[in-house]
Symmetry: D2
Subunit: 350 residues, 4 copies
């Protein structure tokens, strides 16, 4: 019998849920034993209920799991939530109230004052908010969130720079992949030879989430990082991998070489703890003149590394570069799993 | 017999040259009577020599023209140059020396001190440089250039704002069409589900050309506009139409509505003179939340208008928006033709 | 005041309906005065009710038309139906019963014994079925249909061959455009670097409709053409234009040159009558080795011609070739308009 | 020290050569110790000389190999040839003459009477031709070829059917991936929303190679299989995976179910011998109505299986279906490696 920790996935039949199922296959610590979804799917076998769209088959042990309703009666202590934001808010609260650790990919609670918006390489100490959260809400469980798929590539590139040189202002333009829009997402005929310069609600996320993530935990609250971000978000005809063109004003001047070194050398707690899903290098710096490119680089570090290239001086601010990260792995399911691993390592699952 | 002015096209068999041939079909003032190209093509009929790739057929009167070598022995006074920059520099000089007006789309002479980098709506007075050019170089003809395909959309959007509110700093990210890379350009397999964050030499053009275009003619030289631009340039899987995400710091604060009005109301000399290729509205402002889009909007104003949308406040600078313009019409052949029309209207062809 | 014949469009806000609205702009005989759609749209102005997706703007006179419900109370005698097949069957019957001529693009009545499946170049005499239809159904109006978008390119290429050499067997594989799937149709992420070898219900249409179209009107019924077709249908990442690879067994041997001549020389009644929407050449034969191609050739004859290329011997049957036709013009709205023009010329609108 | 058999790759820096390098990484029997390429590359380290375009990095042991010229002075007994057909013919002969076993992916010698065109699952006995080849040509080595990338999917689907029911006639239309055109291959702008109905020289390969492959070795020659194939070949915007729509006339009638069973049950010598690169199932039968699809199915069996779907009756012939196989693995480098494994198992490397 497995000594692994049993875990569940909420919204397991959807796009993010499928990614959780796939990424949890053969996980060394976690054993996926519970899959929950909407009432329409509940009662069916997972294989029946799921319009599976990954390139590898449904993991054998999951195929025949019975899909349960999204109610806090699952036989596990930790659940990953790939629920749609239209329902995630309430359901996740119910689970946390009932004592579950909820690792949420949804936007609903990300900016709540007492909910960690966790990136293990950047703000592992924000887990300290859980105590506040439990006290505030009288919960025995907790909600821990990961950032939006377009936020993550930006913060992973900005954090090492911010810590070393101080970030004053950022202007970023994203070129985001189709998979970020869920399924079915955009119509093929709309994307044929086209680019769509609008993603609903996205720009405000990119402009606010990084400030919380890079903020400082002071007592029972986060003091947000003190700089400004302006984001232009675009959808392009790419499968996976959000690319971002970033110009940064620094508080302390630094050359492109110094910035490159700060990024390439960046290691943090997940690497020290050798968390299973942690990439060896959180940020991979490339000096090829036309990289990173989504098709070639979004899989770097098994989709958990950000790739940064074209680091050069900015004639308006100080530094500019191109960052890329995998939007459904580091930007969604993989992020939540890494968060869970950090929590396990920190004793939250004991 | 035609009363039109006979004109020629240099590099007539290439991608830009073909666009000249196409756009000059049925031109009310100009009659395309001379086509010139490399020695390899010279002597052949145009139809034979040209791997025609436009959606409409080769104009009947051009089909059977004999392709001439690119030497200043053409029977016309004005030539449009779609020559590749590897040869354009010298050939264009020869023609100008020999008395031709050379309307050049090539980069070679754009930044020469005594060569106009002309956008008729913005700096028609820069034609005044011709006198200096002729004096300096002892030419009877002249070279007049149009801006790079990624510069034009930016300056058309910035100029009306600059004149009204003053531009202090600009950060722009481009998403540029395949046709801007010439033919054959990128390999299909490189662009499949991909984006390439690098275009050789492009960023410096976008960062300098606008400052000359919006500069002031003072005596026999241009005083460049006094602001800074930072450009990130990207290639996307789009046929025609360069899209640009722009953040602007203004000298005088203005609301998005004021900026929108300045852009929508912008009219200039080509409109007053009713030049044949001038669009009724140089800048078309859209308030649909997800426009402009290359596939739907690059043909606006027969490819001669810039379309600007998503005008909104920028949390870092003052204003941000998305601009789009047709890279092979307003950004190349159409621009040169409009320049020629202005010169005709100003008496340079008398 | 206009002397044109007032006409209406049913399902005017949908994809096919929009194409009708666009193609009827400036029609020399017809004046679009009535637009009807679902109850959800009824009562609104056309511009408000319609998610317009054509490259040219809504025709000015149509913008402000009030959308009516799809009930036979429209002030016109002829209606074009772009209704979805889920509702077309019954609604079209109501209109025909009420005395309207219904030019339908829907599949519902195409194979009805007393309904013409009309291609004016091929079977104009099938209009004779209208008398039978009226008698059978006690209607004062009539329903006249045009073929499916993947049928039309095939029959336009086969008919001239059949008439001259006799077709015995046909195997055809289609590569069909996205616009044939309606809007939104396929998800972008499903079509990225992909091809889908299945289109629901399509193969049986391609295998049966041509036999009715090329059938002979005998008394009050059609004797179907006596040959067999096998169709493989595929969806590809193309905007407009269905391409078909066709192998044909002939009853009377013919060389590729003879077949090419039969196709290129083919002219018929619409050309004799100079119907406004009739292309000068119903079939355009190309001898370029890699054409027709959807992006370059689907607009031939303003979208009303079929383009046939690569006519060569078939080592299994006798002749093989590639045919292309515009699926939303000759394969939908344009076809119905040409049908209406034939009916007008034949006195059905007097 | 490795007990593996040292092998070399000719044309190692090109598209097919890179695939050999990648697929030979960690091969249980073969050790890639020699890389050879054009004189331009010779003398450089492999990493320097190669514009590497695979998704995984260059295998560590290969990075620093010195690229040798393509001359028969390599320290190994077996070479894989990914040479371009413009040079492959002669170079491969030189190596064979000098005693090397040459596993060639090039077309030059495929149809030579005394050269095996080998598919281990179909005609392993054709290796018997080597004796004839050596006698005829006085070579101590030998050339063994694998089929063209568009042939392989067809023969893998046809062979089990032919053996059981007899194939009389075949009409096939291909939808082929970009990677089959080499690098750079097609221009992106030519493939945007487009399909190209022509691939130079391809149709004759698809029409003849299968007849040799399924032919019978009689004495020292192959008696070709006795049926006819007609092929229409098309290029589509797909990365990897050639799809084929196939209609088959059988000598002995069979239902779709019987055909499906014959395909699904097909196993052969490579499976019996457990050759390292042999897929468990040479042909995978899918009954999903819209599969196989290139993006989801070309990786089946690590790119070594053909996937066949939509097996159904053909109204013109007897049976029709859709086949898919990976064009650069089973259709090129993987095929040659499997051939080499069969030769090793058969003692040719002792």
């Amino acid at each position: 019998m497995s000594n692994k920790i049993p875990v569940g996935v909420l919204g397991a039949t959807g796009a993010v849920g499928q990614k959780f199922v796939k990424l949890l296959e053969n996980h060394p610590w976690f054993d996926l034993t519970e899959v929950a979804a909407s009432d329409r799917s509940a009662g069916k076998r997972y294989e029946e209920a799921t319009p599976w769209r990954q390139y590898t088959p449904i993991p054998e042990p999951v195929k025949n799991l019975e899909v349960k309703p999204c109610e806090p009666a699952l036989d596990c202590k930790l659940v990953f939530s790939g629920l749609d934001s239209s329902v995630a808010g309430e359901v996740e609260e119910e689970f946390a109230r009932a004592g579950y650790l909820v690792l949420s990919n949804s936007k609903n609670h990300r900016m709540d004052e007492d909910v960690p918006l966790l990136v293990p390489e950047i703000n592992p100490d924000h887990l300290g908010l859980i105590e506040t959260q439990r006290r505030n809400r009288k919960w025995s469980g907790a909600i821990v969130t990961n950032p939006n798929c377009s936020t993550i590539g930006l913060v992973m590139a900005l954090a090492p720079i911010h810590y070393k040189f101080g970030v004053a202002r950022v202007i970023v333009t994203t070129l985001q992949a189709l998979s970020g829009a869920g399924y079915p997402g955009h119509a093929a005929i709309d994307m044929l030879g086209n680019v769509i310069p609008f993603i609903g609600g996205e720009e405000s996320k990119v402009e606010t989430e990084p400030l919380k993530i890079m903020g400082a935990l002071e007592g029972d609250r986060i003091r947000f990082a003190d700089f400004r971000i302006s984001a232009h978000t675009n959808r392009v005809f790419v499968e996976d991998g959000h690319m971002e063109c970033v110009s940064v004003e620094l508080r302390k001047k630094a050359s492109p070489e110094e910035v490159a070194r700060a990024l390439a050398d960046f290691r943090s707690l997940p690497q020290e703890l050798s968390l299973p899903t942690a990439p060896a290098r959180p940020v991979i710096v490339t000096d090829e003149r036309d990289r990173p490119q989504p098709r070639f680089d979004s899989g770097a570090g098994a989709g958990m590394s950000a790739v940064v290239g074209r680091i050069r001086e900015c004639p308006v601010f100080d530094i500019r570069f191109v960052a890329l990260s995998h939007n459904t792995i580091r930007g969604a399911a993989g992020a939540a799993i890494l968060n869970a691993e950090l929590m396990k390592a920190r004793g939250y699952l004991d």
